[in-house]
Symmetry: C2
Subunit: 144 residues, 2 copies
């Protein structure tokens, strides 16, 4: 167990809001209102790749990712979910979950490098988080 030594990478902390946590992963909302863009970060120190997690942790991450994916596609009526673990710039393992639809500003391209991030304003962030909470189901703990 190395969860005790785990802490969120400063770049992820700067670019996101903490929304809650599953058993393994912290759930973040990316500060880009262009898309419902959530990020799972397994709370394990020193891990850069999914295949570096233990088998049990990999299975748990998959379970959390699928629960989140189903939730997001329902809550935000998405056309397609983009799931990606890239990490070229932020080495701490984090898995993007981005709801895409034909009306979003980057469609059908991947979101990276396409359109400048648009910081949340007004009530939109609270509304997105509330839509997520309404669908997320068990195994998730909201964080203020």
């Amino acid at each position: 167990m190395n969860a005790a030594k785990w802490s969120l990478h400063p770049q992820l902390a700067a670019d996101t809001f903490v929304v809650g946590r599953f058993e393994l992963s912290l759930l973040l909302l990316s500060n880009d209102a262009n898309y419902p863009w959530f990020i799972l970060v397994p709370q394990r120190a020193g891990i850069r790749e999914i295949h570096e997690l233990t088998e049990a942790d990999q299975t748990q991450l998959l379970r959390e990712s699928s629960q989140l994916g189903r939730t997001l596609m329902t809550a935000f009526a998405g056309t397609k979910l983009n799931v990606a673990a890239l990490g070229n710039m932020v080495p701490q393992l984090h898995v993007h979950h981005i709801v895409r639809n034909e009306h979003d500003p980057a469609w059908p391209a991947p979101v990276w490098g396409k359109v400048a991030a648009k910081a949340y304003e007004g009530r939109q962030r609270a509304e997105r988080i509330a839509a997520l909470f309404a669908e997320i189901g068990p195994g998730f703990t909201a964080m203020p």
Copy 2:
């Protein structure tokens, strides 16, 4: 079992070479020599999202993805693996596995939309596939 009705999406067939298969997924090599770029395609008809697979298939896909990821990072001495299920343009579920390093032409950006694809020429494709085969281990069947 809907594997019988499954067939590879024509766009994936056009952009890649078939390398082999795991128990669940076909393994493709993207025809872009800029990066060692492999793609897993679960052989299940009508599936667009990872969370639409059965739990058993999700677990198998994870197993194949981790085996492939470990293999690629060893075979190609990668700095970072990019794993992504996007599918905005090709709806058939497919999972990119792209070995990245500081000397590749898109680093540190994601590969999409950054640099034009560079088709394989000469022996480079056979060499990449041979490097993969040397490391891949059990559960994988090479295809000519």
